[in-house]
C-alpha cells in the first residue's frame, strides 16, 4: 500500500504504472493529503465530474503521488451543495486547480483563500462540465473584470503584458508590479486559450479522443497520446505489443530531443547569441525532417493509438536514426562547449530566475524545472513502465534552480535521450505487431496514465459510463504546478530578464487552459 490511513481502502488499478484508487469521505481529504505531503509526496492533479445522472451528485478526484506510485482519491459531493475541504494550504498548486474546478463544474473548496475565477473570463455563464449545461443558453459577453492583487507604495507601478505577446508564443496576461526596473511581484492571468477540451472529450469515440489528447499541447503530443492510451489500456486491461512499447519510447525521446534542441536555441537567442538559435534550430529541423520521412509526421501526432502505435521503423530508417544520433551527439557537445565558455551568456544565465530547492518542494515544482531545483522526480525512473524498466534512465538533477541550471538539465537530458534512443534502436525488431485491438472500453471504468514528457509528468484520467463511452477525460499538464513558480522566480529580477526566465521554464498555456 502506498499510504496507510484509518479506514482507507485502496484498490490497485491495472496498467503500466503503479496506481491505486480509493473512495473517501470529503472530510478525510486534508488529513490524507497531509499524510502524503509529510512523506514527501506531491499533488499531481485535481478534477471534478458530474455523476448526477446516476443519482450520485458530483464527484471530486484528486491524484497524489509518492515514491510508491499514484494515489487516486474519489469522493462524492452533494448535488445541491457540492463542497469539499480546501487542500491548497497543504499543496499550494491545488489553488488554481480548485478554482478551475469551480469555473467548469461548480464544485467549490470550503475555506479556500482564493475564490477568484481562473479559466473562466466572461464568455459563458454556468458550469460547462455539468451534463445539463446548455451552451447556447449560457453564452455571455462580459469583460474579464479580474481583481489583480494591487501592490502599493512609493514609486510602484504596474506593467500589463498580453494576452498577445511580442513574439510567436501562446497568449496569456502578465501583470508586473515594479519599482524602477526591478520586479516586486508578478501575477499571471491565464485561461485565454481555453477552448473547451474537457467538454469536447465527452461523447467522442476512443479513437477520436486519442486525436484530441494529442492536441492538448502541440509540443507534447507524444506524451499526451501515450498517457491517454495508457489510461485506456488500464481500463481495458490490454497490454500493447512489445514492439509498440519500444516505438512509443522512441517517439517520446525524440519529442524530448526536438524540444530541448529548440529551447536551447531560443535561450541563446534571448541573450542575443543568435548563433545559438541558428545552430540549434538547424539540428531541430533535421530531427523533425527525419520524423516526417520515417514516421509520416514532423511532431509524431497520432502515431500513438490506444492499443499500440500507428507507425513502424524500417531497417534503413534505423540506420538513419543511428547516424542522426551520432551527428547530434557531436554537434551538441561542441555547442555546449561554446555555451559554457561564453562569458556574456553565462553572465545572463547564472543567478537569473532562481527557485531555491526548498521553495520548489513547497510549490511542488515538477519536470525539468523541478529537477533543476533539486526535485528528483522523473516518472521514467521512479515508475519505469515498459520499456523504461529495461533502459535504466539516468535522471539529471541540479541544485541551483536558476536559468543556468535549467540549461544544464536540458543539455544533460538531451545527451541521455540520445543514449536512450540508441539503446531503443538496438532493441527494436522489425517483425513485431504494432497494436493490440482496442475498439471500445468497458463500462463504468476508471483508468489513469502518466508519462514523463519533456516538460514534466503528463497525466490523463479517463472515466467511462455504463456503456463504455468517454464520460469524463481529464488531461493534466505539468504547467499547472510550474506556472506559480514563475511568479516567484521573477521576483527581484529586472523586467528585461523576464523573457529569458520565462523561456527557461517554457510552460504550456494551452495545456493548462484546456
Amino acid at each position: 500500500m502506498p499510504i496507510t490511513y484509518p479506514n482507507l481502502h485502496l484498490t490497485r488499478l491495472g496498467g503500466a504504472i503503479p496506481a491505486w484508487l480509493g473512495e473517501i469521505e470529503p472530510g478525510d481529504l486534508p488529513p490524507i493529503c497531509q499524510n502524503v505531503a509529510d512523506g514527501g509526496g506531491r499533488l499531481l492533479a485535481l478534477w471534478g465530474s458530474d455523476a448526477r445522472e446516476l443519482g450520485d451528485g458530483f464527484a471530486l478526484h484528486v491524484a497524489l503521488v509518492n515514491e510508491a506510485g499514484l494515489i487516486c482519491l474519489s469522493m462524492a459531493l452533494d448535488a445541491v451543495q457540492p463542497v469539499y475541504p480546501d487542500i491548497s494550504r497543504i499543496f499550494p498548486a491545488a489553488g488554481r486547480m480548485q478554482r478551475a474546478a469551480y469555473d467548469l463544474l461548480g464544485i467549490y473548496a470550503h475555506e479556500g483563500h482564493d475564490h477568484r475565477k481562473w479559466v473562466r473570463h466572461g464568455a459563458w455563464r454556468g458550469f460547462p462540465l455539468r451534463k445539463d449545461f446548455d451552451a447556447a443558453q449560457n453564452r455571455a459577453d462580459e469583460p474579464d473584470a479580474y481583481p489583480f492583487v494591487q501592490v502599493e507604495g512609493q514609486g510602484v507601478h504596474e506593467i500589463p503584458v498580453g494576452p498577445i505577446h511580442a513574439g510567436t508564443i501562446e497568449p496569456g496576461h502578465f501583470r508586473f508590479s515594479v519599482v524602477g526596473e526591478k520586479v516586486l511581484r508578478l501575477e499571471e492571468r491565464l485561461g485565454y486559450t481555453h477552448k473547451g477540451i474537457e467538454k469536447r472529450f465527452e461523447g467522442l469515440t476512443l479513437q477520436q479522443g486519442a486525436k484530441l489528447a494529442g492536441r492538448v499541447s502541440g509540443d507534447s503530443t507524444v506524451a499526451y497520446a501515450w498517457a491517454y492510451a495508457m489510461a485506456a489500456e488500464s481500463i481495458a486491461a490490454v497490454t500493447p505489443p512489445d514492439q509498440a512499447l519500444w516505438l512509443r519510447a522512441l517517439f517520446l525521446e525524440r519529442e524530448r530531443i526536438a524540444n530541448h534542441l529548440g529551447d536551447l536555441g531560443d535561450l541563446g537567442n534571448d541573450v542575443a547569441l543568435s548563433f545559438g538559435f541558428a545552430q540549434f534550430w538547424i539540428l531541430k529541423e533535421q530531427v523533425l525532417r527525419n520524423n516526417a520521412a520515417l514516421f509520416g509526421h514532423r511532431y509524431l501526432m497520432d502515431k500513438i493509438i490506444p492499443g499500440g502505435v500507428a507507425a513502424d521503423l524500417t531497417e534503413p530508417g534505423r540506420q538513419t536514426l543511428h547516424e542522426e544520433c551520432a551527428m547530434l551527439e557531436r554537434e551538441v557537445r561542441l555547442l555546449r562547449g561554446i555555451y559554457e565558455e561564453h562569458a556574456g551568456m553565462q553572465d545572463r544565465f547564472i543567478a537569473a530566475g532562481r527557485v531555491e530547492p526548498k521553495l520548489a518542494a513547497q510549490l511542488g515544482l515538477c519536470g525539468l524545472a523541478g529537477r533543476a531545483s533539486a526535485q528528483a522526480w522523473d516518472a521514467r525512473v521512479q515508475f519505469a513502465c515498459a520499456p523504461y524498466d529495461r533502459l535504466d534512465v539516468r535522471m539529471a538533477t541540479y541544485r541551483n534552480g536558476d536559468v543556468a541550471a535549467r540549461v544544464i538539465v536540458r543539455f544533460d537530458e538531451l545527451f541521455e535521450s540520445l543514449r536512450l534512443q540508441s539503446e531503443i534502436l538496438d532493441h527494436l525488431t522489425h517483425d513485431g505487431e504494432l497494436a493490440t485491438t482496442l475498439e471500445k472500453l468497458p463500462g463504468n471504468g476508471f483508468g489513469v496514465g502518466m508519462v514523463e514528457g519533456w516538460r514534466g509528468e503528463v497525466l490523463v484520467a479517463i472515466h467511462t459510463d455504463a456503456q463504455g463511452n468517454l464520460t469524463r477525460v481529464h488531461p493534466h499538464d505539468p504547467s499547472w504546478q510550474n506556472w506559480p513558480a514563475v511568479e516567484h522566480a521573477i521576483m527581484g529580477n529586472i523586467v528585461p530578464d523576464f523573457p529569458l526566465i520565462n523561456k527557461s521554464f517554457n510552460l504550456s498555456y494551452s495545456g493548462q487552459d484546456l
Binding site: 464568455a123 453564452r139 501562446e170 485565454y192 502541440g218 534550430w281 529541423e285 561554446i338
Partner: protein
C-alpha cells in the same frame, strides 16, 4: 575563446537555406520575381504580426521554424514584428477561443491598411478538432468561436495539423501576390 569556435562552426555549417516555395504557377519565374512582388506591394519588406488566438501551440512550432536557416524567412524580406501597428499581414492560428476574440479583433483593427490575414492550421480554417463540425455544428462551442474568419476577415487559409513551414510560407506568399492583383486592378 568561444568566438573562434563560433566562427569555425559557422563556416563548417555552411548555408542551409533552401529555395522558397512559389505561391502558384503564375509566379514560377523564380525567387527574383517573388522579391519583386513583395517589393511592389509592401515597399521591399513584409512585416508579419503573429497571433495565437487559441491554438494548441502546434502551428506556432512550425511558424517559428520559418525563422530557421532552412526556410530563412528573413532572407526573403519578411519579418515578424512585435506590434500589429507595424504589420502588413496578420498570421493567425486558432480556433479562436472566446477569450481571445476581443484581443484578435483589436490586433486586426490596429493594423494599417492595406492589411492581409492568413489563417493557419485546420483549426484556423474550420475550428478543427476542438468543436463539432459539419452536420453537428459550425466548429463552435461554449469556449470556441471556431474558424478565424468567424471573427475577422481572412484572405488566405493554410490547412494542415500543423501545416508544414513550406505550406505556411506558400500561404503568406499567396496572400501577398493576391494583394498585388487587387491593387493592380483599377
Amino acid at each position: 575563446m568561444p568566438i573562434f569556435q563560433i566562427i569555425r562552426q559557422i563556416v563548417r555549417t555552411g548555408i542551409k537555406t533552401e529555395a522558397p516555395p512559389l505561391p502558384d504557377e503564375a509566379l514560377r519565374a523564380g525567387p527574383q520575381r517573388l522579391q519583386e512582388e513583395i517589393l511592389r506591394a509592401f515597399g521591399g519588406a513584409l512585416s508579419i504580426r503573429q497571433v495565437d488566438a487559441g491554438s494548441c501551440n502546434g502551428c506556432e512550432l512550425e511558424i517559428r521554424a520559418l525563422n530557421n536557416a532552412y526556410y530563412n524567412i528573413e532572407g526573403l524580406g519578411i519579418k515578424f514584428v512585435a506590434s500589429p501597428r507595424h504589420a502588413d499581414l496578420l498570421l493567425v492560428t486558432g480556433p479562436v477561443s472566446r477569450h481571445m476574440a476581443i484581443a484578435l479583433r483589436r490586433a486586426y483593427d490596429a493594423m494599417p491598411e492595406p492589411k492581409l490575414v492568413v489563417a493557419v492550421g485546420d483549426c484556423g480554417c474550420d475550428g478543427g478538432i476542438f468543436a463539432p463540425n459539419g452536420a453537428e455544428g459550425a466548429g463552435e462551442s461554449y469556449a470556441s468561436c471556431g474558424k478565424v474568419s468567424n471573427v475577422i476577415p481572412v484572405d488566405v487559409v493554410v490547412s494542415g495539423c500543423p501545416p508544414t513551414p513550406t505550406a505556411i510560407l506558400q500561404g503568406i506568399l499567396t496572400a501577398v501576390s493576391a494583394q498585388q492583383g487587387v491593387s493592380a486592378s483599377p
